[in-house]
């Protein structure tokens, strides 16, 4: 029996798989398909202070190996989420991480402070990297000093662990990671989507109304793996890895790159049972490869070389 349990700040997970923010609503849609208690945890959709209507449609476009989206952080706002969405999740015995977004620093602080008081919120994920929202000149996700300042100020008010979701749309993601770590981040989520565009050759115009959208899906996995490989060697805080996870082997790859848990996004759209299927496949695959404890392979790609694969190959 392989050991799947992972322990991260605020997130005690019986297996390392959680749905990624924005790909699972607030859980209710997928709760109709299976018992959410099967999940290691859940990350719910980005929450802002006020309700947000999101971007005009079309908001998604399929591309080779992935999809572009520009939903625009549509959500019913902090009050509705705390009164209606989060209480629904109380019946599940899994950690809940809430993604927090904003336009000015005060938004993040306000939302984080209030969400900390909600009893089933286990951790906060600071969304400093949504590519689909224009932020009046302030680049939370691409300026290390601004990201660190935001992390520090949220940490002052948050009473649950704070994860910072990093953008891959930066020159040096290691600098971003180190900056938010030194500002007190308890963990990292990486990566968010890569900014992309698709043009309709019949109209000559971008397919997505927002013009650009965030690329997700299997196409971005190698980028995520490389970034986690680099960042995990430069920081001590744990990383929740995400970006195109589609198979159990993808999960193992993320762990070997340096992740301590994973989040599954676009795959939920392809198959509503993606997460529970990945969890059971992971166990099978670990047995095949002779991996007894998922924690043993964290950072295997750069860490000490105990040949975990030798027993089965």
């Amino acid at each position: 029996m392989s050991q799947l349990r992972v322990e991260l700040p605020g997130l005690s997970m019986k297996n390392p798989v959680m749905p990624a923010s924005g790909c699972f609503g607030f859980g209710q849609e997928y709760g109709r398909f299976y018992d959410l208690n099967q999940l290691g945890g859940i990350t719910v959709k980005a929450v802002t202070t006020e309700e947000r209507p999101g971007n005009p449609t079309p908001r998604v476009a399929e591309v080779d190996g992935g999809m572009l989206n520009a939903i625009g952080l549509q959500n019913p706002g902090l009050e509705h989420v705390t009164q209606h969405e989060l209480p629904w999740l109380e019946k599940y015995d899994i950690p809940v991480m809430v993604n927090v977004a904003g336009f000015v620093m005060e938004d993040y602080i306000h939302v984080s402070k209030h969400l900390s008081k909600v009893k089933n919120v286990s951790a906060i994920e600071l969304n400093i990297s949504c590519p689909n929202v224009k932020v009046g000149g302030i680049q939370f996700g691409s300026d290390p000093e601004v990201a660190a300042e935001l992390t520090r100020r949220v940490k002052e008010v948050a009473t649950v662990p704070v994860y910072v979701k990093l953008s891959p749309n930066v020159t040096n993601i290691v600098d971003m990671a180190k900056a938010v770590e030194s500002a007190g981040a308890d963990g990292l989520s990486m990566i968010n989507t890569l900014v992309g565009m698709k043009i309709d050759v019949k109209t000559g115009k971008p397919v997505i109304a927002n013009k650009t959208g965030g690329l997700s899906g299997p196409a971005i996995k190698p980028v995520a793996i490389r970034m986690i490989h680099d960042v995990s060697q430069a920081v001590k805080i744990p990383i929740i890895g995400m970006g195109g996870i589609h198979t159990a082997d993808d999960i193992l790859e993320f762990f070997m790159a340096g992740a301590s848990a994973v989040a599954v996004g676009t795959a939920n759209f392809v198959d509503p049972f993606a997460c529970p299927n990945l969890i059971s496949d992971l166990e099978v695959r670990m047995n095949e490869l002779g991996i007894e404890d998922i924690n043993d392979i964290v950072g295997r790609s750069w860490g000490k070389c105990n040949d975990v694969l030798s027993s089965s190959r």
Partner: protein
């Protein structure tokens, strides 16, 4: 809502780019509401990655056989058109809310207006309404005579008028030209087709009605918020200013969503 590998039992080309496929499996027994759709993974693997939402055209509940009619538009539907008998296709569904029919009774008259690949979901609806004793006026709009499909099937159960844009069959013009020629009173209408047509039907029809939307979708189950539509002022009762085409629709009361 079930995910099941359905087995293809028939594949037939109806026009230059419209195909009819039949599939069988246990989940077909759940497909009882006309207007619902299925979300199809046209091939295994990641190319193409996402599912394709296809409306339910007809269901034989006893034989557990689903009929879909779809237009080849891109890579996904092209692959679907090349799938053969006995192959399986992963199908999620039935999804969404279909056409309500409880408000119609025996002897009532209903108007059904379909355009292009918006025609198929109206066929299952027509059969259900005929079973109830509702009389139907059916208007089917196509571009040319070569694009016409399902006319014979509708003819067997209802009074059908075909319109073509070039006049090569039936009334020359749009479905609205045929609607304006109806003298009889109808209690309700149901329409599915391209958005400009839906808008025109809403303005032309002389009763309350229901429209079925075709939107670009992601998950198909209400989670990703790709297919949202704005709600008309008077329907913002619960404070929610949008509807999801996939899980709140695809059928809406005429006027409920802004199209």
């Amino acid at each position: 809502m079930i995910v099941e590998n359905l087995t293809v039992t028939a594949q037939e080309q109806l026009t230059s780019n419209v195909f009819k496929m039949k599939l069988t499996g246990d989940s077909v027994a759940e497909m009882t509401d006309p207007g619902q759709f299925v979300h199809m993974k046209v091939s295994n693997g990641i190319d193409p990655l996402l599912r394709r939402p296809i409306s339910i055209c007809d269901v034989d509940l006893n034989a557990k056989e689903l009929t879909i009619i779809y237009r080849v538009e891109g890579k996904g539907t092209k692959i679907l058109s090349e799938r053969n008998d006995k192959e399986t296709i992963n199908v999620l569904g039935p999804l969404g809310n279909g056409f309500p029919t409880d408000h119609l009774h025996e002897g009532d008259v209903a108007l059904l207006v379909g355009g292009g690949v918006g025609v198929p979901p109206l066929y299952y609806l027509a059969k259900k309404l005929v079973e109830k004793g509702v009389r139907l006026k059916v208007i089917l709009g196509f571009r040319t005579a070569n694009d016409v499909f399902l006319e014979e099937e509708f003819n067997e159960i209802a009074d059908v008028t075909v319109t073509t844009e070039d006049g090569s069959k039936g009334i020359k013009g749009y479905v609205t030209d045929a609607i304006m020629q109806i003298e009889e009173v109808y209690q309700s209408y149901f329409t599915c087709g391209p958005t400009p047509m839906l808008r025109a039907v809403q303005q032309t029809a002389k009763s309350d009605g229901f429209v079925s939307l075709e939107e670009r979708m992601g998950c198909g189950v209400g989670a990703c918020l790709a297919c949202v539509c704005d709600v008309a002022e008077e329907y913002i009762a619960d404070g929610r200013k949008y509807r999801k085409a996939c899980s709140d629709g695809p059928v809406f009361r005429a006027g409920e969503v802004l199209i």
